[in-house]
């Protein structure tokens, strides 16, 4: 459909509501509306209700609370309406007018959970896995007892990374990460935004991203960073999100100005910084960061396009069959599925595309007691597709998608594509060393 895109609608997504032609395509593709009647669908919650929110006394309606923030409606709309953005802004207005509930405040401040959880780990993990604690959390906080928080690491990624750098400067060995960029002369400079999950929970992911980038000749730094703000945005805490955004823009902006590319390993952090900072939060300077920002797989594929990606992957002993799940927030990037292309570069890897199904977690959404069942009902289709594919391993770029996949299909393991790339590089290096040794032995034998 023809869209009226002028500078005003680009500045304020609320104004796109006038472009709605009521075709309901958004509702047809909404994963939430498909499984429950409690959400009226993106068209009704978004553009239809928007006119009532423009009134001098705006109508507050909590039905938007059931929007999962997957942004599918934004993508499928043929008229340029952004129902997901309308819902998010409406939810924030509701929270501003009626106040926040403690549970949503806490989930929104996921980074605080990370900091505390990390500081008290591994005790935190024991406590958070306790059935009684879970039951109390459900009763008191409204956090579903079916869910388990991801385990917190004792040390953060940022500290580990900093320690590694220091260690090397002082010549201390023992680090498994290859030490030197290989094409130092033409090195690309990367500022890595790890995000809360890699920082507090999955340090190996952060280390793998660094290792893969360095292996391909990039110089990697980890700038000071705070939570991107997505959990805050999703829980209506716009002021706090803006504060985080301003911090990150200032910090990342310095590196962008110095010629660094900014790389994310979490699709949702990436989307927030690249898109929501401008479109939802209207943060100044966000576009300068967006211009240099990439998802890790997108970035590696770019290197491949330039002929700079090391393709000496070593396949595993047996062919690796895995399925790929594309996170909704990756689709919202509009850059296709770069991880699939990357994984296909590894010999012996066979990738099954699971299609375009939402996993149902929606970040903190699926942790909420009243939304847990909706989240699992949405996920059913994906769970079945994974079971039918019969693979033991699922690759996905988003941390909460991976949590949901392992929750819904406990017999499979879910990993970030960067982990698989690192393994293939490590096998290649191990083989190289082994070859080197056997060559050495051969020459020694000859000398004898």
């Amino acid at each position: 459909m023809a869209t009226i895109q002028d500078s005003e609608t680009e500045r304020d997504p609320r104004l796109t509501s006038d472009q709605c032609i009521k075709c309901q395509i958004c509702t047809a593709y909404c994963p939430v509306a498909r499984v429950t009647d409690r959400f009226p669908g993106p068209k009704f919650a978004g553009p239809d209700s928007q006119r009532l929110r423009f009134l001098p006394e705006p109508v507050l309606d909590l039905s938007v609370d059931f929007c999962i923030n997957c942004k599918t409606c934004n993508l499928v709309c043929p008229s340029g309406v952004k129902p997901s953005d309308l819902n998010t802004l409406a939810r924030a207005n509701y929270v501003a007018a009626r106040g926040q509930v403690p549970r949503n405040w806490l989930l929104g401040h996921a980074e605080l959970l990370g900091r505390l959880g990390s500081a008290a780990a591994p005790l935190t993990n024991l406590v958070l896995r306790d059935r009684l604690v879970k039951a109390i959390m459900e009763k008191v906080m409204g956090i579903s007892k079916e869910r388990t928080f991801p385990a917190y690491a004792r040390r953060t990624f940022a500290r580990r990374f900093a320690g590694r750098k220091r260690g090397r400067l002082h010549g201390a060995g023992g680090d498994s990460v290859p030490s030197r960029p290989r094409q130092a002369a033409k090195a690309r400079k990367v500022a890595y935004f790890a995000g809360c999950f890699a920082n507090y929970n999955d340090l190996e992911l952060g280390m793998a991203v660094v290792e893969v980038l360095e292996h391909n000749g990039c110089e990697v730094v980890v700038p000071p960073q705070v939570c991107c703000g997505l959990p805050l945005i999703a829980n209506g805490e716009m002021a706090a999100a803006r504060k985080n955004g301003e911090f990150n823009i200032k910090s990342l902006g310095k590196f962008a100005a110095a010629g660094y590319d900014i790389v994310f390993s979490s699709t949702s952090c990436g989307l927030t910084v690249r898109s929501d900072y401008q479109n939802l939060l209207g943060l100044e300077g966000a576009e300068r960061i967006a211009a240099r920002a990439y998802d890790i797989s997108e970035y590696l594929l770019l290197l491949h396009d330039e002929g700079r990606l090391d393709l000496a992957f070593e396949p595993g002993e047996s062919p690796l069959r895995l399925a790929y799940h594309a996170p909704c927030h990756l689709k919202a990037h509009g850059v296709g599925y770069p991880a699939v292309k990357l994984l296909q570069l590894i010999p012996g890897v066979e990738v099954t595309d699971l299609g375009k199904i939402c996993c149902g977690i929606g970040g903190t959404y699926g942790f909420k007691k009243e939304k847990y069942q909706i989240s699992m009902d949405i996920g059913q289709e994906l769970f079945e597709a994974i079971r039918n594919s019969g693979v033991p391993l699922v690759a996905s770029d988003c941390e909460t998608c991976r949590i949901q996949i392992e929750h819904g299909v406990p017999e499979v393991h879910a990993v970030h594509p960067a982990i698989l790339l690192r393994e293939a590089y490590r096998r290649a290096e191990a083989r190289g060393r082994a070859n080197g040794r056997s060559a050495e032995r051969y020459s020694q034998d000859k000398d004898k």
Binding site: M1, A2, Q24, A33, F44, G80, R274, V335
Partner: protein
């Protein structure tokens, strides 16, 4: 990023072109701003419904009419593609739909079907989803034929379908058709009834998709069938009901099975009637085409408009896509433009006139603005603006202002093309498939 072919537009023409090109071994990227035309269409494949704009009676034998049209109007897309390739494209398309579990059917003698619409009007079409075929109002060739009176069923709380209105209009249409010499005499009688939605939560209005999700469940179908049997037992209007017509919501992907199951439960033939968007049969068709495209290796980029093109020495090198995060360029050897006409956004109309926004291709139009449209919205002769389009050569390559090929590695397909009046001809899907198929072959 570099591809062999970039297809711009995710409607029927674009999806067909991408599928065909990928099956030729091309590396294809399909870029779509949103999901569009199929979700607003009926799911039927119109070939040629009316020979002249404003004709009172539809075309019976579309292939003969197509030959005549091609002879009279050499600029018509059907004339550019030629009848043999049009026929080949439709056969290929029907095969793809069959494989995808969404089989299409037509009349035995290649005549048009006459199917009821969601308003109770009569629509000539060439191929229809198998789930709609029993709604055929008249077998125009007179050899077999779906006959028997109709019970049209709607649902309380579903505001996109009014069965009594549909039935009454169908009865009126019967009078009109019966009055035309040589036309149908055994027009069926229709009655309409509304039933409650089993196990309704009453939390919100139901959409077509909500009902389709429910119809995939056997238990829901059983309850619906029970309600209909109650209605049939009470029905005293003299109709001999042989067929039951539902709005087209009988399942998202498993509609074929759902329909068979309902027929068994009711002991009557069952059919779907296309309704207002979002069209569930359109969703099914879009699903089949997209799945087939992905299986053939097509990459699909959704939600991102193409905002510009880089043209050098008469060749397009790349197009620029505006994603939510930045602008990206995609290079290719060939490009297929299938962005739709004025209604689809492929042609923009502003104060300076109509224009094709990506490549700046010229769009023919009457000089005086008052000639672009007629005073009545439903004017039988149709509006000039609905015919705005891009002129192409015999190879579907768009022409510049000088009448020569504008960009040598660019092909156009679908409603974007000039020379047709698909809104009034009832030929949109036929044109989209034929030109999409040809573009996929020739790019």
């Amino acid at each position: 990023m570099t591809y062999d072919v970039v297809v711009i537009g995710g409607g029927l023409a674009g999806l067909v072109a991408a599928n065909v090109a990928a099956r030729r071994g091309k590396g294809v990227l399909l870029i779509a701003e949103g999901l569009a035309s199929l979700h607003m269409a009926t799911g039927c494949i119109d070939l040629l419904g009316y020979a002249e704009p404003g004709d009172a009676m539809p075309v019976i034998r579309p292939w003969e009419a197509l030959e005549e049209l091609s002879a009279q109007a050499p600029c018509h897309p059907y004339a550019k593609v030629g009848r043999p390739l049009v026929a080949e494209s439709l056969e290929w398309f029907a095969g793809l739909c069959r494989e995808g579990g969404c089989p299409l059917a037509g009349s035995t003698g290649g005549e048009n079907l006459l199917l009821p619409t969601g308003l109770g009007t009569v629509r000539p079409t060439y191929l229809a989803p198998e789930t709609m075929i029993s709604g055929n109002l008249a077998d125009l060739s007179g050899n077999t034929g779906d006959s028997g009176d109709l019970l049209i069923v709607g649902f309380e709380g579903f505001r996109d379908f009014y069965p009594a209105y549909v039935a009454e209009n169908l009865n009126l249409a019967g009078e009109r058709y019966g009055a035309h010499p040589g036309w149908i005499s055994n027009w069926p009688h229709a009655a309409g009834v509304q039933i409650g939605v089993p196990d309704s939560t009453n939390m919100r209005d139901l959409s077509a998709v909500d009902l389709a999700v429910r119809f995939e469940r056997e238990e829901f179908r059983r309850k619906v069938a029970e309600k209909i049997k109650e209605v049939l037992a009470r029905l005293t209007c003299g109709a001999e009901v042989a067929r039951v017509g539902f709005p087209a919501v009988l399942g998202l992907e498993k509609a074929v099975e759902a329909r068979h199951d309902l027929e068994e439960k009711l002991g009557l033939r069952v059919f779907e009637i296309p309704i207002l968007p979002p069209s569930v049969p359109g969703l099914r068709l879009a699903g089949v085409l997209e799945k087939a495209a992905r299986a053939a290796g097509v990459e699909v980029l959704l939600g991102s408009p193409v905002v510009g093109a880089e043209v050098e020495n008469g060749r397009c090198r790349s197009v620029t896509v505006r994603t939510p995060v930045r602008e990206n360029r995609y290079q290719a050897e060939a490009f297929v433009l299938a962005t739709g006409g004025v209604l689809g956004g492929g042609i923009r109309v502003d104060l300076d006139g109509p224009r094709e926004p990506i490549f700046g291709l010229p769009v023919g139009h009457p000089p005086a603005r008052e000639d672009w449209s007629r005073p009545q919205l439903m004017a039988p002769e149709g509006h000039a603006f609905l015919r705005f389009g891009v002129e192409v050569d015999g190879g579907l390559r768009p022409l510049g202002r000088d009448g020569a090929v504008a960009i040598e590695n660019l092909l156009a397909a679908g409603s974007l093309l000039a020379g047709h009046g698909s809104c009034n001809e009832q030929s949109a899907e036929g044109i989209a498939i034929a030109t999409g198929y040809a573009a996929g072959r020739w790019c």
